[in-house]
Symmetry: C3
Subunit: 215 residues, 3 copies
């Protein structure tokens, strides 16, 4: 059961990451091929950077054709039904948050399997979950969203730390995965729901800027 | 004869890709060193991304010094004779299209040699042919041209599919390469000559934008 | 003694590269997490690209946790004491130039150890020294500074050529390293001190632009 749950999240996460790529690419009015490439970059970018940095080559999506098929179908459907997809905001947000949790756990486990330091594993989990969107934004000539005000990465880092804490307990591995995915999902939902944000570093600067503006 | 033909296309393709990098970099008024780097990125970027993703390391241009020499000479000549090169438009377009075909076939064959799925091989061929220009545009803070209205990638994909179809026949490998390079060349020339384009996804949106503008 | 000197430069260089990332990120008003990522990208980007291209994987900073710790502490200190750090301009410039020399030598030596052509080794040295800042600028949606008017890369290339010249002599390896680091440091300081620059390719163009402007 748990295995099928994890595989389902993998597929749903890949699909929603691809759809987020389609949306961003259509905002910049790319043509069909450009949209497809951005969908791919968003969906497989994080895992690709991780695999390259730890030397697990060829990278995952090259070895398993299923990712390409899922992403292509998701992108084509998202292009055709673009106006309908806008109404699925909440559903996509839920899938996206589940996918974030799943990909983070995947990155963590790959780091552990490679025998890396826990802090590096947490970094790899965060890269896996977040850097698809970083590549998407750089390709579209935007400053990456997660560098600015997203709680994405913070959820991954907390989830990663919790993973290593719970690893000390005698929890079964499958349950551990489900719990951490749930935790990352939960953090992200709570933050967006209650509009929490990291402390604003520039509060003072902005204020003085404003004063300068008034004078 | 055919081998020499292929080697010639490799050199001509590398040179024209490097020159396209020089042109783009000079439009952004980079200094000599910046232009040289962009020439390199454009000429070897696609093959470098391919080699990294399949794990064929060190990447090709690092193992074979000839590429660096050809690119450096091409870039220096293109900088010095920049105003003359603008008049070579048609010649460069022909070399560039031949190079696109050659690099795509190279990527296809590397994918096949690595034992990858045909669809992944086609993707690798497209990456080899097109992603030098993607890296060039991202480095110069432009949205990649091929994401917007270029037929570049479509020619690569069709060429890649034809390669696998013809692989079923008992055609000799050298001839197969020449035919696919010719096909990609032909598609690109026809499209640019008759100004064909992918269907415009945003036709409706643009129309209503216009109306809004008039009101 | 020389070993400790080299290790000190490694640490100081990493710290100043991280701080330059923090400064650039704060200018774009990123949040804490975004600043930290840019600090990392700037400090370990050059070495990461080098390691990936030559296939020395997992990349260096993943294998040695010390880099992550040094970068994180440097970034946090730089964020907290941001207004004080602005007054350290000269000190940071000295550390930064030493770091540039050290990282260039590191890249050169890795290339030699991999058995690559001297010109490729010089390119790898330059990539190691300079491409952290290239990735930083691309991530922040700027055209890379070193493509425009920095003397950074030229110092690395001259230092790399000198390294191979001195390798012919019977100089001790440790001294060779110290001398080349000193040379790169010296070139950079001289250039910035006396405001030297590469010849301006666009002098004529700018003039005619001006005339057009006046008419």
């Amino acid at each position: 059961m748990k295995h099928e749950f994890l595989r389902l999240i993998d597929v749903l996460g890949t699909i929603t990451f691809a759809i987020s790529g389609v949306s961003a690419a259509m905002q910049k009015r790319l043509d069909v091929f450009g949209i497809l490439i951005i969908a791919f970059i968003t969906a497989i970018g994080g895992g690709t950077i991780r695999d390259i940095m730890i030397g697990d080559l060829p990278v995952g999506w090259i070895r398993n054709i299923n990712y390409s098929i899922v992403i292509t179908i998701a992108a084509v459907v998202a292009i055709v039904f673009n106006s309908y997809i806008k109404n699925l905001g909440t559903t996509l947000f839920i899938f996206d948050s589940l996918g974030l949790g799943f990909f983070t756990v995947l990155g963590l486990q790959k780091g552990i399997a490679t025998g890396l330091h826990p802090l590096i594993c947490i970094a790899l989990g965060t890269v896996t979950g977040c850097f698809g969107s970083v590549l998407r934004d750089i390709s579209l000539n935007n400053i990456p969203l997660i560098f600015q005000n997203e709680i994405y990465a913070t959820a991954c880092i907390i989830g990663g730390a919790a993973y290593f804490l719970l690893l000390q307990s005698d929890l079964q591995k499958d349950w551990l995965e489900v719990i951490i995915i749930g935790l990352i999902f939960f953090i992200r939902v709570i933050v967006v729901r209650y509009k929490l944000a990291m402390p604003d570093l520039y509060a003072k600067v902005k204020k003085s800027d404003l004063q300068e503006f008034r004078e």
